[in-house]
């Protein structure tokens, strides 16, 4: 069964894949993705408002829409090519049919690319502390993510330790310490400007000796093309590995969801130095178009594991691909009638008029 069918079922209500206890999370996704969906939905609707016939112009528009959603040029091209085939094959002509085919294709493509994807976070089972290393560019939201995650595990009754590995940026240590106070979790820190690897070493030792369950390691934001800074990151990882051979259990790349195609370069370069095991997509509630999730899946095959859907402490959620796409396409699956979306369409039009001036 394709992902599309699953989602369709979930959407129409008759589905076992979305059990009761997940209802609340689903709502969070829906609320958090409100904006992304509007953009995506508006775009698809606008596309069909101008729809006359399935011709080259239509596919050009489709391509543009996908690019505007940050799915990346390659992916956009691939999708529109495949759709061209599909539409020909199924010989669809009516706009609602075409729309259906498009959504179906998008959802299935998305499902396909993520087939063997493991979206779960991993922990040790041998009594040693579990170590998560957080990496990413400046301002992606590493420290905030750590704070939120610490809160989550603390609530779950785990013994959590934080390591302030960002000794470089002004106020970074204080920021993590403030989070530590808020969620009642100890922080291992040194003086600003100290060797981050040394801090991490101390933290690992403390975690081992005092039997912490989870150690979350913060690092300074760095642009992926700074060789010396990337080497520093490698060293930090090496230090962890030397003390705890199975650690870090997760190397999480924190990505700002409003990042464009540079996200791919970030993922690639960070992956080369630290073997990223998963992605945390932050600020997905705001400007995100969701497209980058598709791009990351298609081109990098690094699973998204956590998403930030808001400012509150518990707005950091495990990434659930089914729920994500459900949230993204809600309102598009099965109801593509243009009459229904008249308001949306005109809104979008005025938007694009603004764009041009």
């Amino acid at each position: 069964m394709g992902l599309f069918d699953k989602i369709k079922k979930a959407f129409t209500g008759g589905n076992a894949d979305v059990p009761e206890q997940q209802e609340e999370t689903t709502e969070k996704y829906e609320a958090g993705l409100e904006k992304s969906r509007q953009t995506f939905g508006q775009k698809i609707n606008a596309l069909f408002a101008n729809f006359r016939t399935v011709d080259e112009g239509f596919f050009d528009d489709l391509e543009e829409m996908l690019i505007e959603s940050d799915v990346g040029y390659e992916t956009a091209l691939r999708i529109s090519d495949e759709l061209r085939e599909e539409v020909k094959l199924k010989n669809v002509k009516r706009s609602d049919e075409v729309s259906q085919v498009i959504v179906e294709k998008l959802v299935d493509l998305y499902g396909e690319a993520g087939q063997d994807e493991d979206n779960a976070l991993h922990f040790t089972d041998n009594g040693q502390p579990t170590v998560f290393l957080f990496v990413g560019v400046n301002g992606a939201g590493k420290t905030t993510t750590i704070g939120k995650l610490a809160h989550r595990y603390r609530q779950a009754g785990k013994k959590v330790l934080l390591a302030a590995g960002d000794t470089f940026r002004a106020g970074a240590i204080e920021q993590l310490q403030e989070w530590g106070r808020r969620v009642d979790v100890p922080v291992v820190a040194s003086q600003p400007g100290g060797d981050p690897a040394a801090v991490v070493f101390d933290a690992v030792k403390t975690a081992q000796q005092e039997h912490y369950d989870i150690l979350l390691v913060d690092t300074a934001g760095r642009l992926q093309n700074k060789v010396n800074l990337m080497n520093e990151l490698e060293k930090i990882k090496r230090v962890i590995k030397r003390e705890l051979p199975n650690a870090p259990q997760e190397v999480l790349l924190v990505l700002d969801a409003s990042t464009g195609q540079n996200a791919l370069s970030q993922a690639k370069q960070f992956n080369e130095t630290t073997q990223v095991s998963g992605i945390v997509l932050t600020k997905l509630d705001g400007t995100a178009r969701g497209g980058i999730v598709l791009a990351i899946r298609n081109e990098l095959h690094i699973p998204v594991k956590l998403v930030g859907l808001g400012e509150k402490m518990d707005d950091l959620q495990d990434f659930n691909p089914t729920q994500f796409i459900y949230g993204l396409f809600k309102g598009l699956i099965d109801i593509p009638e243009t009459t229904d979306d008249g308001t949306n369409t005109s809104e979008f039009k005025s938007d694009s008029e603004n764009t041009q001036d």
């Binding site: 301002g139 106020g171 920021q175 080497n231």
Partner: protein, 480 residues
């Protein structure tokens, strides 16, 4: 700015390069080229509508008879692309708005993690350096943990006062009180750091609007991460709807972003980009020049910025403190060290190189990674030399080299490599001091070309000589 446009530059170069190979350019050649230009821009996250307009403009101008039938159609088209790029980014640099009476009030706004606080610090530093200003920073980010601490730390580093009231007060009130203090202290600039927020966050956007209403800033700078994708235009639009944005600061331009935001923002919002930030040091803020940026995007280098940088960073004091005796046409390790110091002062080497015409798009330079550490290693080796060795490089034998390796903590291979590099530099300097540029071509892989390039190189050689003269003078005085 160095690496920022590399991907875009390369693709544009390829697209245009195809035209260059043709003697006669037809309309369909132009169409083909523009297709590739369009893709290149889209891949660089340039806003969709901007790309459309841009392509349309260039095509219209390029297919005109006077272009296609001219003797050098490819060059003409490059010029058109360059013109249009410049136009898209706003023609000329726009200076900061000033208040008629002090203080000039600058307010920083933007999304979370865009770099407002860092940029506030950089801006304070820029104003001090260039206008001998006495700025006051106001910490109005009461939401993000330790944001106030961050600004205070930056204030300490720059020796700039920071006004804060902790995190328990309303930002509007904080700004109000801060302004009173600025009046008392007669600060000529006030820079307000606000919390990052989404442009769709009603409550927080209202807060910004309240601050604006309260103090009527002369300048509201939207800070935008250069790596932002298509969302950049929406963000700019959202902020502009609620606030009277007067300009944009583009941050993190030193990443390998393709920098589409730089091209889109001006066109979409009509607001000028005033500064660009690249790097984490507080002096890494540059005025944005659309024309120079266009040159750089097209891989034509940016001699103007390079020359300015060299002038700024050239240490007059060091020169003034030195004296006589000339050992001119020799080049020893002291010169080598001096050369490296001068270059390092200008900024990261790979960044500098990208400003030299022809180097930016040189395939040989593509994989060039010069990390600041490497430079330091080379310097460590030179520092491990005796004065005699520095002046007389020829006496370096195997045993001396081993000592250098041990002294600097670098492997012997690196010492050897360094000496080889020195020999090359030495040869190059000697040639240049004779004004002979032949034989230099190979050095940058045909990179340094044209009159401008030659001018820059000989100016470099002249400066080098001058400094050496002065250093030797000083050395003598020191001895006597």
């Amino acid at each position: 700015m160095n690496l920022a446009f590399e991907g875009l530059t390369e693709r544009l170069q390829n697209a245009i390069g195809k035209l260059r190979k043709k003697g006669k350019v037809t309309e369909s050649d132009v169409r083909e080229m523009m297709r590739e230009v369009r893709l290149a821009l889209l891949e660089a996250d340039v806003n969709f509508t901007v790309v459309k307009d841009f392509v349309k403009q260039v095509r219209e101008r390029a297919v005109g008879a006077e272009v296609l039938e001219s003797l050098t159609p490819a060059q003409q088209i490059v010029k058109i692309v360059n013109d249009e790029l410049t136009k898209t980014m706003g023609e000329a640099a726009v200076p900061l708005n000033k208040a008629p009476h002090i203080p000039t009030i600058i307010m920083m706004v933007g999304l979370q993690g865009a770099g407002k606080t860092t940029t506030a610090g950089k801006l304070a530093n820029y104003l001090i350096k260039n206008e001998k200003a006495r700025p006051l920073l106001i910490a109005a980010d009461v939401y993000r943990p330790a944001a106030v601490d961050q600004l205070k730390t930056i204030g300490q580093q720059l020796n700039v006062p920071v006004f804060d009231m902790g995190t328990d007060h309303d930002p509007v009130e904080i700004v109000k009180q801060g302004m009173i203090q600025a009046d008392l202290q007669k600060n000529d600039y006030v820079i307000i750091d606000t919390a990052g927020r989404l442009q769709i966050d009603e409550k927080l956007m209202t807060e910004l609007a309240d601050i604006e209403a309260e103090v009527q800033p002369n300048e509201i700078l939207l800070t935008v991460d250069a790596m932002t994708g298509q969302a950049a235009t929406e963000v700019a639009k959202g902020f502009n709807e609620r606030l009277n944005i007067t300009g944009v600061v583009l941050t993190k331009l030193d990443g390998d972003t393709r920098g589409g935001a730089a091209l889109s923002i001006r066109a979409v919002t009509g607001k000028p980009i005033k500064f660009t930030g690249q790097g984490e040091k507080l002096d890494q803020l540059d005025v944005f020049y659309p024309d120079r940026m266009a040159n750089r995007i097209l891989g034509m280098g940016d001699m103007m910025s390079l020359i300015e940088k060299a002038q700024n960073d050239f240490d007059e004091k060091q020169a003034a403190a030195m004296a006589e005796k000339i050992k001119e046409n020799s080049f020893d390790f002291n010169d080598f060290l001096d050369q490296m110091d001068q270059i390092q002062k200008m900024g990261p080497l790979d960044e500098i190189m990208k400003m030299i015409p022809g180097v930016a798009n040189n395939p040989a330079m593509k994989n060039m990674n010069i990390s600041p550490k490497e430079m330091d290693h080379i310097k460590a080796i030179v520092y491990s030399m005796t004065p005699a060795e520095r002046e007389e490089p020829k006496i370096l034998n195997a045993s001396r080299k081993r000592r250098l390796a041990a002294g600097s903590g670098r492997p012997i291979q690196e010492v050897n490599r360094m000496i080889k590099q020195f020999d090359m530099s030495s040869k190059m300097m000697q040639q240049m001091s004779k004004g002979n540029m032949s034989g230099m071509e190979g050095l940058f892989g045909n990179g340094v070309q044209g009159k401008l390039g030659k001018m820059a190189m000989s100016s470099m050689a002249r400066k080098q000589k001058k400094r050496k003269k002065k250093r030797l003078k000083n050395a003598k005085r020191f001895k006597s």
